[in-house]
Symmetry: C2
Subunit: 299 residues, 2 copies
């Protein structure tokens, strides 16, 4: 089944201690869409300006990403610039130029409204809600977020949470949202806000799922070298929903393995700037790392 | 087979955001010995003063810990006092009174010299070396350490490393020792210093093993409430070597499961002050958490 992915489509200028790369293809929806494309057909909804390089359109197309929902408007593409510190764990934003993203309203083409698997990648919760209102009856809706929305759009986010099957956030965001230090207490509070599945991301320490069937400790695939972690979280959730859309049976039967696939795609994402490594992944490489993770966690 | 454990035996006064407990039984060897005692007979080597409470001797005895190697000297028992911050991750030392520990020389009774499984729990590397020199031909020697020795006794530590089968340290210590940010690079450098098995502890994020057979990602058992993490690392390595001493076959066949057992004993340790929870563990509770960890990591 195909996956509908809505989020930001951007140009990222990224600086790390070792290198600098301007105007790479980025944005939550770009990373998630390419990640999901290794498993399922993807429909992308986003907005870019008329400065958006043609080679990035071609990149989406090489991944057979349906671009009917990608608006190309007069003006500039959303441009984000950031810098990572020496250990690659902390980053600071140098510049944010919203461009055409400032007035973006995601409008779903008719064919998109019946999608069964929906990923609301990180954008304003009001836009994520606006997408859901246009959907018919999706089987599985997962949303990602960021600390900014917890600070400036909490009311919208709380409205959104009531309508989600799954919610993905990182550990510091879980703490911000619930004021709980303990993970179990935080998870319990987030479930009460709506979602049946809650995933807390912990960067290189992996992630934790809380679902009706119980908890799951999902490892990160250990890397010899992190080149650029931008988009790793988006790749994780993109890979997960891409895998879920191919699996028969209940979500709870497959979400653990889905997280492992997401974790593996995220590991490739970190091995190159922007989408440079992700776009070169071969499916057999993904399966190999999944097998390795099986071995790495067996006792 | 029995396990020989050498390290500090102390009185710990511990303050957390919620409570304060003076003069608890503590020290690396105490935590490790009680942890190992759930699996194998333990011989403890350490020193206490004549102020050492009789009830703590009885506590060791209840765990059938052989105290022939425990020196009781005129003077005061090593006393450590520390305080944890609100999230229980950072602690600061308030006071260290070495007492009889200041001139401690671990001398092994004859019966101890032929032990097959040896844990050199955290004490000065020169003392850990001194113990090894008295041993006949142990099958498996593991040592733990702390940042202090990396700072003030690095030469001794490097000498020790050449004689170990396994070395356990935490992630910040691995970084201190190797100057490497990447875990794989750090592990590679530590192997070059001697030990065939290297375990990097990451607190609530679990631990990583590097062994001839490859890597292992060992999860921490997730806790609803951390009361006092003092001694968790010692409990981990104590539980691990206790389990290993019961297992037939090669170390590499069993060390992964040994780490899981250690991780589970460490989880109980965190649920009470000092050794309060650890001493009340029932073997069936350990096995239950090991089974849970199996379920929590399966995909």
């Amino acid at each position: 089944m195909s996956v509908l992915i809505v989020g930001s489509t951007a140009l990222d200028s990224i600086k790390t201690p070792n290198a600098e790369n301007p105007r790479l293809l980025g944005g939550s929806a770009s990373h998630a869409a390419v990640a999901a494309s290794f498993f399922s057909p993807v429909k992308l909804v986003g907005v870019v300006g008329n400065d958006f390089p043609k080679r990035y359109i071609q990149l989406y197309q090489r991944h057979r990403i349906d671009l009917e929902g990608l608006q190309i408007l007069p003006g500039k593409t959303f441009h984000w610039s950031g810098e990572y510190e020496i250990n690659m764990n902390n980053r600071r934003t140098l510049l944010t130029e919203l461009g055409v993203f400032e007035t973006f309203t995601p409008t779903l083409p008719k064919a998109h409204q019946s999608a069964q698997f929906v990923l609301l990648a990180n954008i304003a919760p009001s836009l994520q809600l606006h997408v859901l209102k246009q959907m018919q009856r999706p089987k599985f809706v997962v949303a990602d977020t960021m600390d900014l929305w917890l600070n400036i759009a909490l009311a919208d986010l709380l409205k959104l949470l009531k309508r989600l099957d799954a919610f993905v956030l990182n550990d510091s965001e879980a703490h911000m949202l619930t004021k709980e230090d303990n993970m179990f207490s935080a998870l319990k509070k987030i479930h009460k806000l709506g979602p049946k599945y809650v995933i807390i991301k912990k960067g290189s320490h992996g992630s934790i799922l809380s679902s009706p069937r119980g908890f799951f400790i999902c490892p990160a695939y250990p890397l010899h070298c992190v080149v650029d972690p931008t988009g790793a979280g988006d790749s994780f959730v993109g890979g997960m929903i891409g895998y879920l859309a191919t699996a028969k049976g209940s979500i709870d039967d497959h979400i653990r393995r889905g997280m492992i696939y997401g974790s593996v795609v995220a590991s490739f994402c970190c091995e190159g700037f922007g989408l440079m490594r992700t776009t070169r992944i071969k499916r057999a490489e993904i399966d190999r790392r999944v097998k390795e993770l099986e071995k790495l966690t067996r006792f």
